[in-house]
């Protein structure tokens, strides 16, 4: 039955090459931990993606309860944490995942750096990777404010002050992030929510797509 549906679609759209392109490539010996245990360093990139997927899924579930408004944000997080079934687990995974993804991404960056894998022809993929790193830090920074508790507010205040110290455009950046020239408040929370949930994930998806397409096109760098 499933085969027939597949054939019906394939006959019209020729979808086999699309997924075969992902499935049909060979993994060389030097990146396979089954052959050389030290090759586990090549797992960091995959694990980063794995946590990213968990972050996306847990984040989607968090938005079912979270309210981006200064009156209700903390209350909604408190409710989620203490009343909702498995809410503590979902929030916990999102909270710890945010730290783990930074750790894994850092290790992945170091692996690529020390194996010299950024060299020709992979310069562009390295640069996209560094941009992904920046987007992830942005997600961490904006997500930290959302529970609207004491540490969130005051960490964000400091962060925005640092952004405001950029010469010439600092004031504009501050207003853009905080929604006001002086107040860190209701506007800031909704802006950070929008940036955290829409703007940065959109940038992340585009960059990840570019990252993966380039890996498929160029392959993993050879052994040292």
């Amino acid at each position: 039955m499933l085969n027939k549906i597949y054939d019906w679609v394939d006959e019209r759209l020729d979808i086999t090459p699309i997924w075969r392109d992902i499935a049909d490539h060979e993994v060389p010996e030097h990146v396979n931990p089954a052959h050389h245990f030290s090759a586990f360093v090549y797992c960091f990139g995959g694990l980063t993606f794995f946590i990213t997927v968990i972050q996306i899924l847990s984040g989607m579930f968090l938005t079912m309860y979270y309210v981006p408004d200064i009156e209700n944000a903390w209350e909604s997080v408190y409710y989620l944490q203490n009343e909702v079934a498995f809410g503590e687990i979902v929030r916990g995974m999102h909270h710890w995942g945010a730290s783990l993804v930074i750790v894994m991404m850092f290790l992945h960056t170091l692996r690529v750096f020390f194996t010299g894998s950024y060299k020709k022809p992979r310069e562009l993929n390295w640069m996209v990777g560094v941009l992904i790193f920046a987007v992830m830090l942005g997600l961490g920074f904006t997500g930290y404010l959302l529970p609207w508790d004491m540490k969130a507010l005051f960490a964000t205040k400091v962060g925005i002050e640092i952004a405001a110290s950029v010469p010439f455009v600092g004031g504009i950046i501050k207003t853009l992030l905080a929604g006001d020239e002086t107040i860190i408040g209701a506007q800031t929370l909704t802006r950070f929510f929008a940036i955290h949930v829409f703007f940065l994930p959109a940038a992340l998806f585009a960059l990840l797509a570019a990252h993966f397409i380039m890996i498929r096109r160029q392959g993993i760098s050879g052994p040292l």
């Binding site: 054939d7 086999t16 310069e123 400091v158």
Partner: protein
């Protein structure tokens, strides 16, 4: 091997098209000696095994350490010492040094992080040698090790100089205690007329002083505390008679939190 439904494949590395190969395209893996493995499904299954082990550790961490939540943000509370999430601590610490703060703030906030990020972004164009082994390119390796050491050192300095216990106590969620009581009762009349209400709140909910609900003291102990004081509370501020104090103390022992 028969693949798929007999369609042609896009970029299949198992079908090397030597005539069309661009100069920069890396060699096909079959040109390396060793055991290659198909990504799907063999290698992906092993990857999933690594992922599963990782996921177990991740879930154990999640269950063992519930994510923290402090009390609701209060912008008017200036006593809170701000601290960013741990992976920003090294940048935060940098701003505390003399050469990177005050009039030189721009060095710590913009110039140094900017240079480091710019160098990281452009590293393929700064390190253009053909060598890939870290041992054969000492400068890039050296700079990266220096950067890692600085990040670790700065993070460490930041962690040991922050009073985590005090911050935790300051940020803790304060439980609201409410109590049902009769405002016309003699006890409350005495309370209202005394100076106790100034610190312990109109409905015994606390303020500068602690809440007076559900105390584990006897009436005698409460009388003693009113005379002698306790902790930050001064003694001898109750101006009524000894009898009134005794009545008030007995009334306070009856206050239990509302269900």
């Amino acid at each position: 091997m028969h693949r798929g439904k007999g369609m042609k494949f896009v970029g299949d590395s198992r079908v090397p098209d030597l005539s069309n190969r661009k100069k920069n395209t890396p060699k096909d893996y079959s040109e390396y000696p060793g055991k290659t493995e198909a990504f799907w499904p063999d290698f992906l299954l092993k990857e999933w095994l690594v992922g599963a082990v990782f996921l177990v550790g991740y879930l154990v961490l999640t269950v063992a350490h519930p994510s923290p939540l402090e009390r609701p943000a209060d912008p008017a509370d200036t006593g809170y010492i701000p601290v960013p999430d741990w992976y920003f601590l090294f940048l935060y610490q940098l701003l505390k040094y003399e050469f990177a703060s005050g009039p030189f703030n721009i060095i710590g906030a913009i110039v140094m992080p900017g240079l480091a990020f710019g160098a990281l972004l452009l590293v393929p164009f700064l390190d253009t040698s053909k060598e890939r082994s870290p041992w054969k390119r000492p400068l890039p390796t050296g700079f990266m090790l220096l950067a890692i050491a600085s990040i670790i050192y700065l993070t460490w300095e930041s962690v040991v100089n922050h009073d985590w216990e005090a911050a935790k106590a300051y940020g803790e969620i304060k439980e609201e205690v409410s109590v049902e009581f009769d405002e016309t009762s003699e006890g409350y009349q005495l309370y209202q007329g005394s100076s106790c209400i100034g610190c312990h709140g109109n409905s015994f909910e606390g303020g500068i002083g602690l809440p007076l609900v559900g105390l584990e003291y006897t009436a005698e102990e409460i009388v003693e505390i009113a005379h002698e004081g306790k902790g930050g509370m001064p003694g001898g501020t109750f101006t009524g008679t000894e009898e009134e104090l005794q009545k008030l103390a007995e009334y306070i022992t009856t206050l239990q939190p509302a269900e």
